[in-house]
Amino acid sequence: MIERQIAIGHRMGLHARAAAKLVQLTRRYESEIVLFRNEGGNNREADARSILAILLLAAGHGSTVAVRASGKDEAEAVDCICEYLKG
């Protein structure tokens, strides 16, 4: 299992377009990929394959999320997703 923190670089945050792209990216990997976001003491998580869950994270521009992947290709998955989230 690998976990890495990343700040959302997209100007609009993880909005519909970015969320859709993210889901399409995670599809390339076998690993389970989960995003975590801590907001005001509330820890929220989202299956990175679920567009509805990602949108509900409401991760705006500059907010920090943790990307956790576990599986055969976890290293590549975390690299690729963090690279994308950086914007």
Binding site: H15, A16, V23, L56, G60
Partner: protein, 569 residues
């Protein structure tokens, strides 16, 4: 094959007659119909749901392919989001789990899961993200539609003379079948004021509704639909068939005759009545100019707007509207902004209320209308207005859209007339105040009458309460006429009242001289008006306003225009 001829009775909804083969449409489930299912039904219910997911995805992918060809990147990406929702475990798996655990039908499960998700969205503080629940609503609508129309026969297999028979046929289903030939329509539910009925008339499909003996009509049977008499004849005899053959020939001839007369519409004593056409689809503009319509009094834009279930962007809409205006040449076209019917929405989001709540759509449509306005003679009509505040809000948006267009240096014509649809009692009683703010008024009698009587127009059991001849309606018409006269703003009546000779005569009695009717009714009304005496009708107004019930009003009007008294009273 020994069955003898039988006649089933219903109500007349769209006139004309047709002989054809019955195609049974299985009863679509109503959105609100929540059913418990047995443990044995769970597997097939899940399969039914999965099928509708598949079907929805396929439709979306087809739409996406079309959009990519048109370079509409923005909309194509929205469809991506829709497709991803259909693959989302949070959505799909939860619905399936609900069907299994609660043993409820897919419609109900979809509803519950959607409500949960929408609640989560509503809690978000981000305005933009909160709006994304609109995507969810859109998908849900598509899913429900596909669940319900799953049993519709594959359209490609429809015989040429198909008469669609079903308990209830949604207007959207008729719309989807529109490129095929439908000879006739028979339903059990619905009334002549339902959207399906309006659609049937605009497509000139002979229709009978309120037929309670549908099981009497076997699939594939040869039947006659007589929309003028409100009857369906099963296993017709040779004599019946030849009689209807003659009627069909006669109808075709009279249609051609009415269409050929190019002189303007006027009463017998030479008073000009402006007669326009109401249309639902851009394709009908051509037909309207072919029957010499003077203007398009009402173009219900929502059917084209939500065509294919997508949301067009401003550029695509501009192209569509420019084409409408080019086709209509000098004929003015009144574009009514999106009015989503009550069949899918609560009254809280009808007409202008919908536009104010979905400003992105409203602004895109207005922007497109103004940009297209340089191509012809466009007018913009705001539907379902009930307060001055709403109207002012809409007018402010219109000014803002114009300012934006100027900033973007988009050419548009500044003088596009703006009008208000008078179709709620509140608007009727304040139409002078509304008239001060706009350029023209349009009277929508269908909604106005149903809200005067507090009835639902799709509910047939209340249909008998609906009467355009009621003293309350006469008083209301009188008031509207007087107020509009004082305001000096032109008014066109575009409801069903204008499309029937007797009720149209009431409108002339009350002073109205501009009417707009569906294309199916156009030749008939042109003909009917030509035989009316305007002076004689106007003299009736005092007497008519003094009558105490609908039956007396109706019979006085009918006899004054030489029609036999109505048999249904």
């Amino acid at each position: 094959m020994t069955s003898s001829e039988r006649t089933l009775h219903g109500i007349t909804v769209s006139s004309g007659s047709a002989v054809g083969h019955a195609v049974r449409a299985f009863d679509p489930l109503f959105i609100s119909l929540n059913l418990r299912i047995s443990p044995e039904e769970v597997a097939s219910e899940i399969a039914r749901f999965r099928e509708s997911v598949e079907k929805s995805s396929a439709q979306l992918r087809r739409m996406q392919a079309q959009l990519k060809r048109r370079n509409a990147e923005e909309s194509s990406f929205l469809i991506d989001a829709h497709l991803l929702i259909l693959q989302d475990r949070l959505f799909v798996d939860r619905i399936i789990a609900k069907v299994e655990s609660d043993r409820i039908n897919a419609e109900w499960a979809i509803q519950q899961v959607t409500e949960d998700l929408c609640e989560a969205y509503d809690r978000l503080e981000d305005d933009y993200l909160r709006e994304r629940r609109g995507d969810l609503d859109d998908i849900v609508r598509r899913l429900l539609h596909n669940l319900q129309s799953k049993h519709m026969p594959p359209v490609r297999k429809l015989p040429y003379d198909a008469i669609i028979v079903g308990r209830s046929i949604p207007a959207s289903a008729l719309f989807e079948l529109r490129s095929r030939h439908i000879a006739g329509l028979v339903t059990e539910t619905g009334s002549s004021l339902s959207h399906t009925a309006i659609m049937a008339r605009s497509m000139e499909i002979p229709t009978v509704m309120g037929v309670h003996d549908l099981p009497e009509i076997p699939s594939g049977a040869l039947i006659v639909v007589d929309g003028s008499e409100g009857i369906v004849i099963v296993s017709p005899t040779k004599e019946t068939l030849s009689r209807y053959g003659e009627i069909a020939t006669r109808e075709k001839k009279s249609k051609r005759l009415a269409a050929s007369g190019a002189k303007p519409c006027a009463t017998e004593d030479g008073v000009r009545i402006s007669l326009g056409a109401n249309i639902n689809f851009s394709e009908e503009v051509q037909a309207a100019s072919e029957c010499n319509s003077e203007f398009i009094g009402l173009y219900r834009t929502e059917f084209d707007f939500f065509r294919e279930g997508g949301r067009p962007d401003e550029n695509a809409l501009t192209a569509d509207y420019a084409l409408v205006l080019k086709t209509s040449k000098s004929m003015p076209v009144t574009f009514r902004t999106i009015d989503v019917g009550t069949e899918l929405n609560s009254l809280a989001t009808r007409g202008l209320r919908f536009c104010l709540e979905n400003q992105d759509l409203f602004r895109a449509q207005l922007g497109a209308l103004f940009r297209a306005s340089v191509k012809g003679n466009a007018r913009i009509l705001l539907p379902f207005v009930s307060s001055i505040e709403n109207l002012d809000e809409a007018l402010e948006i219109i000014s803002d859209v114009k300012r934006n267009l100027s900033r973007r240096k988009e050419p548009f014509s500044t003088g596009v007339p703006i009008g208000v649809m008078i179709e709620t009692p509140a608007a009727a009683h304040t139409c002078d105040l509304m008239a001060e703010r706009v350029d023209f008024l349009c009277l929508g009698t269908n909604d106005l009458i149903q809200y005067y009587f507090a009835i639902d127009r799709s509910d047939q059991s209340a249909a008998h309460l609906y009467s355009p001849f009621h003293p309350a309606i006469l008083r209301c018409l009188h008031l509207i006429y007087m107020l509009s006269l004082q305001s000096g703003k032109p008014l066109t009546v575009c409801g069903e009242m204008a499309a029937d000779p007797a009720s149209a005569a009431v409108l002339l009695v009350m002073g109205f001289t501009s009417l707009s009717v569906s294309l199916g009714a156009y030749p008939r009304m042109r003909h009917a008006i030509a035989s009316m005496n305007h002076e004689k009708l106007r003299e009736l107004s005092g007497q008519l306003l003094g009558l105490k019930n609908s039956a007396d009003v109706e019979s006085m009007v009918r006899s004054s225009i030489g029609l036999v008294p109505s048999h249904h009273s």
